[in-house]
Homo-oligomer: 356 residues x 2
Amino acid sequence: MTDQKYSELAIEKIAKTKINDVDFDNINFGRKFTDHMFYCDFIDGAWQQPKIVPYQPMTLEPSARALHYGQAVFEGMKAYKDDNGNAFLFRPEDNHRRINISAARLAMPEFPKEYFMEGLTTLMKMDKDWIKPGVGNSLYVRPFMFAIDPAIAAAPSEAYRFMIICSPAKAYYTSKIRVLFSEKYSRSADGGVGYAKAAGNYAAQFYPTGLAQKRGYQQIIWTDAKTHEFLEEAGTMNIFFRVNDTLLTAPISDRILDGITRKSVIQLAEDSNIPVEVRRVTVSEIKEAATNGSLKEIFGAGTAAVISPISAFEHGGEVFEIPDTENSYALRLKKQLLDIQHNLSEDKHGWRYEVK
Amino acid sequence: MTDQKYSELAIEKIAKTKINDVDFDNINFGRKFTDHMFYCDFIDGAWQQPKIVPYQPMTLEPSARALHYGQAVFEGMKAYKDDNGNAFLFRPEDNHRRINISAARLAMPEFPKEYFMEGLTTLMKMDKDWIKPGVGNSLYVRPFMFAIDPAIAAAPSEAYRFMIICSPAKAYYTSKIRVLFSEKYSRSADGGVGYAKAAGNYAAQFYPTGLAQKRGYQQIIWTDAKTHEFLEEAGTMNIFFRVNDTLLTAPISDRILDGITRKSVIQLAEDSNIPVEVRRVTVSEIKEAATNGSLKEIFGAGTAAVISPISAFEHGGEVFEIPDTENSYALRLKKQLLDIQHNLSEDKHGWRYEVK
Ligand SMILES: Cc1ncc(COP(=O)(O)O)c(C=O)c1O
Ligand SMILES: Cc1ncc(COP(=O)(O)O)c(C=O)c1O
């Protein structure tokens, strides 16, 4: 696709904005969408003209391959606004790179960077009023790609649709959460698709997560499928453990999503001289640390939840409570991250991407 | 849902059949669909009125949860016709049971048996002309269910659509195939969703299968994700090994689909006094058997391919050719199966299900 000729973005504006129908103070995540959406179809081996049109339902064949064989990948990112009305994205090129990594694993075509960045920034400008200022507010941006070829043979599709839709958001989890360390169910295996944001990875977690929720745990921390001895990540967050003053987190592998929040947190911790160990973290060392009091914090890190502190975990029938700590790393890192995202502090790594 | 009141099947017939547009001698699997389709929506906790309507595209929200989180399951079955024009399905209640097992694993609702069987048989009667007589011909029937709730929160959908669409088919593989035993990639893990016909399981196989195909292997035989020492199944077939006169096949587990062809083959083999061992089959024993000449056959078993003989496999950089054998079990079992399906022989287990 390197020799593809780029066609110009076509734009069709909505007749009248729907923004006044939305109560931004009471937002149910992911149900309201902005005025416009971006889409681009892959047909006959080439990406066709990209378009921004009013957000609307689409027509799909019942045989569209995504519905049968799960060729579908997605991304999640957020747009923020400062008090001067300037809008920002956070490391958006990384989302572009990652959706292409996910796509490759599912035998789907790469989406060109030019189309991604132009579609994304134009959409942000058109729907700018939907990005509300104030820390905690954001516009959740969902790029995704799925197979549309109307053919139910179990083989890669020949046609795809790439879209970007946007939904206003508040922070995902408001209070501390309790989690279960997985002992039976698994999210991904070596040689599998766990490192991809593949649609099927998420549906696979709903049932075991539902079982955990019935027992009072909001999330599962997945362990490796092979031994269940290593702590990997949560459903939509990477996981950090603070033992004494050191932060621990699992290395990236083919089972773990290479989270953009995760790598930003590692960088921010290093910037603050917090020792970080990126290595396999065992269930037993965390239980031991919880027992002897050296486990100070566990928190998740991801675009939706930002930083999500964890107050307790269960494993092997035992519940471990993690007392509140002074000088919480989670709170400090969360503030640093939000300040960069909302243009309230210096951005020495160049993560902010102004939409203009 | 046990106290659900069943509503009557609504039927809207096509104005004019499309059957004359189809060249039944040159069918590209899964691209042509019959005149009608069945659908039923799950809304507000209940299945709504089931309907048969002309096959047509549908309207879906871009936020429909199946496209983001992969809540989608399916089934595959076939309808056959004898020379007197009678139409038959093969063990259709098992497909109904299995789609509900798949659905449960993905936190989706059960589809009621009454709706399934009535929708299926009515659709078969309406599109009966699309089932062509003659061994090898069949109508492939695809029940499937997917999440339609327009909300991109990573949690189970509240709304679903169940559909049945049908596509005329010839046998899937015409000649013997060559396969690769998987050493790196994996299809499913303990505690995962491998036993479900979950959409995401199929997309996950396309990329590694594509790599195998470039090297001249049509399919991968998946090994267990943990050790890659045990032979499990192929992408859309269970696998049998004949060592001397004994048939070996892996036991059902949470990594392996409980194939209807597989269990029928086991029964037919037992009926013919072929010794069958349902147990873990190791890569090393099969390589050894191939080397010492006791490996007589390998074949896949599944609805699409029926029985698919395998002529060679590769593992650890070594290629093992399996010479043709006299008195092939694969051919004998295939004939027995097709004869039952096409009403050419006695059906002592009651597998045939006449559509009338
Ligand atoms: C499985 C999984 N892990 C981790 C993350 C966090 O990644 P990021 O920080 O890039 O949002 C996400 C969500 O995006 C995810 O889906
Ligand atoms: C993964 C997998 N294994 C095995 C089979 C064979 O099952 P059945 O004989 O019920 O068609 C299928 C296809 O249906 C399948 O998708």
